[in-house]
Symmetry: C2
């Protein structure tokens, strides 16, 4: 049986029972201006207010809860453009587990600083995926994948439970796709109980791996990514996330970096929330018209980790 | 009997019953970083997420609820550096009452735009207080004062009720002071039931009217204000707000504009919240050490209305 067929909504419910004491239940905020633009009541799931500044804290903490004592002693490692690294550093600190996080040299300084504050060993290198896999093998560490494993997906899906509890009538839920862990988890959490709620993914033009995978019918990788949304930029779709998204997500739309910046500006001036590019993508897709609201709409602001310097350059 | 002695905590509770369906209950967010800095569990009351972007919506809506039908037909007017103008425009739009708002020429463009969106007649002039009072007299309008009247103070105090319900053990609550309506209302709401909760006001050096009033023992005005915090810059203390603050607020501290900017940066990068200068002042006072936390601490982020251009200039 493929792994995805063994994943069930109950996995997400169980994940929540393990992590909910340690994370925030982030607010679902009604936005008058986004409602006007969407032509439907519209809400922002302000996950940029989550501990560590993104949803990644959910999955990382959940994954660490299932380590054996030997694995805990040996430590964990990951590769990540930033938010997963920061979240794993935090979760490992909470759990008393040594952590190495391998990040690209282009990672946002605020994410690198954050990982260091939580005591992780930070390595920055262009070949961050290869270096992490090599170190893992050499040292007998546990690799905590940024998106493509069941414990991560179930953890991220706890966000979906919160959304649907706060707004059971949600007609359209819009979520950015990097590796696809968040949207896969949310779809898993919601799809069975709310079959008429549309779940829409958003990718940047320059890192459209999941849209490509949907078109090709298999998980694809691309040679080069080119987007300001570092959090949506893994060059490959997960095999597991792809299969869940294929079966449970209604559509994946693609937007430009300029549209992402428009979303960041809107969230700043209208909603008074700081979103990093990846965090703004879902809102941007509503503003640009790439997503049409059917029924009450929720745009997930997945993260807010961006340095002031970079923000000022972009907006 | 002086007016302040006739104001009671029940006024705030009654105000809440009148306005709560139309405003947001803004979240009280735990901040790990602010807790580290304060040495106590620390929370942010994210009132920058309130409708119209500041607490001013509470008082304006409450004041309009008590208009006679003749007053409603004639319309309302106010003078305001911005947030009260915007909030009154919104509340008047909700209530179907014509509104004129008179603002200084230096008002933040985002506040002017907002007031216009809600259909108010906006007048910008250097002599905004005088012009508003003159128009009011000439046209038989109702002046809705930005801070110094009981209905406004009771409305703003509903924020205090939310804070103390969400965190009954609050030891220190820090609130910026412009005219003093917010802190007076919150003190009125909390003081009797929570006598050991310290309530601390914060003013910018360049507009320290309330600190001056406390020192002099009467409501003072100053000839000239000089601060980036337009929302904390009225050149006079209210007679009513002063008397409540004198009796019910534990201390008023003063901070520099540079410290306010530090708070804005902190809220952006650490909490992913957009605060205008006035909105950051309470957090800034904790970061600068001007306020010492005794017990769990709450810093109120009173507003987030600032244009991107101005934000980028300041930070």
């Amino acid at each position: 049986m493929p792994v995805e067929e063994s994943m069930k909504p109950e996995d997400v419910i169980r994940a929540r029972s393990l992590i909910q004491e340690h994370i925030f239940r982030t607010p679902l905020l009604r936005s008058t201006d986004l409602s006007d633009r969407a032509g439907q009541p519209a809400f922002l799931k302000a996950e940029n207010l989550q501990i560590t500044g993104s949803f990644k804290a959910r999955g990382a903490l959940h994954r660490l809860a299932s380590l054996t004592s030997q694995e805990r002693a040996n430590g964990v490692i990951t590769f990540s453009a930033g938010n997963h690294a920061l979240a794993l550093a935090w979760a490992a600190h909470q759990a008393g587990v040594p952590a190495i996080v391998v990040m690209p040299e282009t990672a946002d300084p605020s994410k690198v600083r954050g990982a260091k504050v939580y005591g992780a060993t930070v390595i920055q290198t262009p070949d961050f995926v290869l270096v992490a896999r090599s170190l893992q093998a050499d040292r007998g560490l546990t690799l905590v994948h940024p998106f493509d494993e069941p414990a991560i997906i179930a953890g991220q899906g706890t966000l979906g439970l919160e959304v649907i509890e706060d707004l059971p009538a949600a007609g359209t839920i819009v979520i950015g796709i990097g590796g696809g862990g968040l949207i896969a988890g949310c779809a898993l959490a919601i799809r069975a109980t709310h079959p008429n709620t549309r779940i829409i993914g958003v990718e940047p033009e320059g890192a459209n791996t999941m849209a490509l995978s949907m078109a090709e019918g298999r998980a694809m990788s691309i040679a080069q990514v080119n987007t300001i949304a570092d959090g949506l930029a893994p060059p490959f779709a997960g095999a597991l996330t792809y299969s869940i998204i294929r079966d449970m997500v209604d559509d994946v739309v693609v937007i430009s970096d300029e549209e992402i910046v428009e979303g960041m500006r809107f969230l700043f001036e209208s909603a008074h929330l700081v979103a990093e590019p990846a965090g703004a993508a879902a809102t941007s897709a509503v503003l640009s018209g790439a997503v049409t609201a059917k029924g009450p709409l929720v745009a997930v602001i997945s993260g807010g980790n961006i340095s002031l310097e970079r923000f000022k350059q972009l907006v």
